[in-house]
């Protein structure tokens, strides 16, 4: 009731909130993060365009010689189980989060999926996001690292067109480098230049999932991150 003049009108009250609009998602993401940390698992949020090679990189990691790294993964997919099927065929325990029409994963979807995994004994847990360079960028899932797969065939200016995705990345996997000789002038230097304009500290790993080139540097970096985590 209006307190000022006794007119009987309801009162209009300004309520100050000053909080992130995605604070409910952030809360669940913190819970996921605590879960990963408790089990000493390094969690990656792997993002990138459809067809950028996210699944192929994980398959290549599973076949990489040397250290036996224990990986598990969930794959966000609008309609199919195909990515998780490929990962399971490569020996990676994997499940699908079917998002229907949703264009990104959120922390709650990942939280539900985590109930199906035993994290004990794992080294890495990869959240393979829905193929999309826009929407997944703003949702914290509880990962330790954001990684973006960018393929050489997508075009050198993709980082400039989708700056938010790359700005939030801890590392960029420049994939399909075995195709560079066929791409008429496309070169790694131009990707590096574009990334330096959207990432203050760009960390780029040129790789080929097909030939295995560059995977050693990427895996060495991941191993170091895991030890420090």
């Amino acid at each position: 009731m209006c307190q000022d003049c006794g007119c009987g009108d309801p009162e209009i009250v300004p309520v100050e909130v000053h909080q992130r609009l995605l604070s409910a998602n952030d809360r669940v993401a913190r819970h996921n993060r605590a879960h990963f940390v408790e089990h000493a698992v390094l969690a990656l949020n792997l993002m990138g365009s459809p067809g950028s090679g996210k699944t192929a990189i994980l398959e290549a990691m599973a076949r990489a010689p040397g250290v036996n790294r224990k990986l598990a993964a969930v794959s966000g997919d609008l309609a199919t189980d195909r990515d998780a099927e490929r990962l399971r065929a490569a020996g990676i325990p994997a499940a699908t989060i079917t998002t229907g029409s949703a264009c990104h994963l959120d922390a709650e979807m990942v939280h539900r999926a985590l109930h199906d995994f035993a994290l004990d004994g794992l080294d890495f847990f990869v959240i393979e996001n829905v193929g999309n360079l826009v929407c997944p960028a703003i949702y914290d899932l509880g990962q330790a690292l954001n990684v973006v797969a960018l393929s050489t065939t997508e075009g050198e200016d993709k980082p400039l067109k989708y700056p938010v995705m790359f700005r939030n990345a801890d590392a960029v996997l420049l994939t399909k480098i075995d195709l560079l000789p066929h791409l008429g002038g496309v070169c790694i230097r131009n990707f590096d230049d574009a990334l330096a304009r959207v990432m203050p500290e760009p960390r780029v790993f040129p790789v080929s999932a097909r030939t295995g080139e560059g995977l050693d540097r990427w895996l060495q970096w991941l191993d170091e991150k895991r030890i420090r985590a």
């Binding site: 009731m1 309801p10 009162e11 209009i12 009250v13 300004p14 309520v15 100050e16 909130v17 000053h18 909080q19 992130r20 609009l21 995605l22 604070s23 409910a24 998602n25 949703a102 264009c103 990104h104 959120d106 826009v134 929407c135 960028a137 703003i138 949702y139 400039l160 700056p163 938010v164 995705m165 700005r167 230049d193 330096a196 304009r197 959207v198 990432m199 203050p200 500290e201």
Partner: protein
């Protein structure tokens, strides 16, 4: 288009605040969106128009305050324009985003009986 899911978070949050204050209606929402936040203010407003029907916000105006994207050197303070190499030309320190990534619910004006 994640603007729909952001509006749905917004309406849930406003609903919770309104219940806490026993509000009978909401008159105005003020949110702040940065130019580098990855959210399109126009799409967000359109999504809000669609979703507010039948909620406490049905008659509430959505006021969007836009925030510019600004980068600077954290060491010497030099401003670095969007599109430049994000490293200070003077001291080579990696730039820092000073503003522009905000997605914030600032204020709710509600009607309390």
């Amino acid at each position: 288009m994640h603007e729909y899911s952001i509006v749905s978070s917004l309406l849930e949050r406003v609903g919770a605040e309104a219940r806490t204050h026993n509000a009978i209606a909401v008159h105005r929402l003020t949110i702040r969106i940065g130019a580098a936040a990855g959210v399109d203010p126009d799409l967000l407003s359109k999504a809000y128009e669609m979703f507010r029907e039948g909620t406490l916000c049905a008659g509430a105006e959505l006021c969007v305050q836009r925030v510019e994207e600004q980068w600077a050197c954290p060491r010497c303070g030099r401003t670095i324009a969007r599109g430049e190499i994000l490293r200070c030309a003077e001291c080579a320190t990696p730039a820092r985003l000073v503003s522009g990534d905000e997605i914030i619910l600032e204020q709710i004006e509600m009607e309390v009986p």
